[in-house]
Symmetry: C2
Subunit: 418 residues, 2 copies
């Protein structure tokens, strides 16, 4: 056997891993499969693995970046406040039924909307968020299992490897995707199970501590992030329920995350990696928080887009997630900037402006919005992760009585098996 | 200017004709665009023309024949009773809103399901028909405007021209599609308006006559088709309403059609062209009707599939449409068997097993199912057209008092301007 399998076999492994392990597919399930047009080869392999595993139906929904650019070039201005609510509502109905799982393939060109009017980009995102809110809530609550994996589209590969010819860039990005998705070893599922056990050990340790806050320190950063009352740390596989087995929603995944308190974030923080957002790289972000709110925020590059994002709604300038990722994570060690949250958020500890995940609160899924807010969970149409971790950042946990305990030193876990 | 425009220009004309003239698009409309994966180039051109004409949103929904075959090869047996009702219901909600139009691109491989279990094919069609019934009803009532055009996919082209290399077959099928869709002349819209005027003159003539029945005679055929009470002849553009301009649902279209009486069809009839149905060519159909029902039916080729179709439900063996097409129609004169109803039904007079269109009854759209049935309109999950016209078939109209009047002689119109 060669050290590296032929491309077709690696792609087939990714398809099978996503359907069986990622989704936790069971006989009789149906799947809605969202994908970019370029990903037809992976969609077809996933479809085959799904039917072989007993799926009753796979419904692919393709998106086309060419159509999206055509819209910005030709559509009337009123178009940018419109989203296909009939489709989001249909998907929400499907997920509510409990029979239909969500599989997604990521392959966006991070530079696609570069140069487009930031106001229109923001309006379109807002329209889509509003139309898809119920659907997204069902997914974040794991009403049904879901999974997202990546596909090396040419446009994405060229953004990650701008100096390489397209075919080399695509090959390099595939190598990085296959490695990060852990499909290269002799037994991908065993590899994932060991990885999930390590993530689980970290969430268990953090959940036993019940810290009142985390304190991030490093060059330019001195930030206290209060944690929501009854916050729960989550990482790797989803919790199985009586109705559904576990799923592994993000492939790859290196983070453990929980819900910060929307009113108890204070201090200053700087980004440690560029944030790729809707075709714009936002670089060197500096934010000062007071009582949970970003009261000062600027970016050296992409500042106009950052300001638009923070103006989306009341919750957009508050935090909805805090996540810990060691500097030694394989994605971090690859040294690549993927310009995709699916990857880059797994390369460094991060925080997210916007919506909190109710699943990251004990019994959060059963709580009404007013109760979630009372615990400190933020609410917004946006959820945008940005990286604040590095090999120079340390994190302490602060207990309710003010005592502190080291969580990470110089970007690596302490006090819990790495 | 060359006699024939370059391919890209002809494709662009087809896209523009479909969006502006076919759909009757207005500013602020949205579109659901169904298409086979192969038709990406036409989808992109339609999307551009739609946005330029003021559409707020175009949502393409692609289907993949490879996935369909994978399903037959790999899916569990339970799969063949399942359809994405969440998607049909979502589309129905969109059409009910009145804002969302339906555009479709036809490009099916007529041989795709050849050799698959006819029982499974029939079950899948039934499941899809049941899931899509409400959606289809909204379209056949013209609650919103819709339009279907064709795309010469390689598999379809090879079925039509089996002796030619693939690229030649595709080029020949495109020539036939562009010609039949009337995009080749100097002014496609003017061409269509003249054509619609001719179709309109025929429907006006037939509607003034209010025949009680039609009598088809020719080799092997002696069939009396009773017409429903208050039947209405329809052809070409849809009727504009206070809410919507006219649309031209079928491109091409050569037929005028109306609603037969489900209990008053008697005699024998033979097919004059093969019927392409779900990957099977059904040839040399012979049917004897008594009191509306096909009491004897057989086909020399594809008889098993024909029998399955007629067993679908109570209405499957009764007629839901009767249509008149002159033997001189350009599609007939092309001499091609397109193995697609969109084309072949425009090459010969035809009848359809199954569901009637309420729009082909005066005030039919406002009638409850029980009232439609009382007028003689048939009800079924299927609607399958098959060709009974040729240059040897004559058609008489029979008035309520029993007097007759020639409608077609040897396949051509008489008594009304051709």
């Amino acid at each position: 056997m060669p050290d590296v399998l032929p491309f077709d076999q690696r792609l087939d492994r990714l398809a099978e891993l996503a359907v069986r392990f990622g989704l936790g597919l069971r006989k009789g399930d149906e799947i809605i499969l969202g994908a970019p047009l370029e990903a037809v080869p992976l969609v077809r392999r996933m479809t085959e693995h799904a039917y072989k595993a007993g799926a009753n139906l796979v419904t692919p929904l393709y998106t086309d970046s060419v159509d999206q650019l055509t819209r910005f070039r030709c559509a009337p201005d009123s178009s940018f406040d419109v989203a296909p609510k009939w489709l989001s509502d249909g998907m929400a109905a499907a997920y509510r039924s409990g029979k239909v799982l969500r599989l997604a393939i990521y392959g966006e060109d991070p530079t696609l909307l570069k140069g487009q009017d930031p106001g229109r980009v923001a309006r379109l995102n807002r329209a889509r968020s509003m139309a898809g809110r119920e659907m997204l809530e069902l997914l974040t609550k794991f009403t049904v299992n879901w999974c997202i994996v990546a596909y090396a589209t040419p446009a994405w590969a060229k953004a990650v490897f701008p100096a390489l010819p397209e075919d080399e860039a695509v090959a390099r990005l595939w190598d990085a995707i296959f490695a990060a998705s852990r499909v290269d070893g002799p037994d991908p599922v065993a590899n994932w199970e060991a990885h999930n056990a390590a993530l689980h050990a970290r969430t268990e340790w953090l959940n036993r501590r019940r810290f009142h806050a985390l304190h991030f320190r490093g060059p330019g950063t001195d930030l206290r992030v209060g944690l929501a009352e009854g916050h729960r740390w989550i990482g790797g596989a989803s919790m199985p329920t009586a109705d559904r087995p576990a799923c592994n929603p993000n492939i790859p995944s290196e983070e453990v995350f929980t819900t910060p308190h929307k009113d108890r974030v204070d201090g200053t923080v700087v980004s440690t990696k560029p944030l790729s957002y809707q075709g714009t790289l936002i670089e060197d972000i500096e934010v000062r928080f007071a009582a949970g709110r970003a009261v000062e925020a600027r970016a050296r590059v992409g500042n106009e887009v950052l300001q638009k994002v923070l103006e989306t709604d009341e919750g957009a300038a508050r935090l909805g997630e805090v996540a810990l990722v060691p500097h030694s994570s394989p994605i971090s060690q690859s040294g690549l900037l993927f310009q995709s949250t699916l990857f880059d958020e797994n390369a460094a500890s991060h925080i997210a402006f916007g919506q909190a995940y109710s699943v990251a609160l004990s019994n959060g899924d059963a709580m009404a919005p007013v109760e979630l807010a009372a615990r400190g969970a933020n609410s917004s149409l946006i959820h945008i992760d940005w990286m604040i971790g590095s090999g120079e950042i340390s994190v302490d946990g602060i207990a309710a009585d003010g005592t502190t305990e080291a969580v990470m030193k110089q970007g690596e876990w302490v006090g819990v098996a790495g």
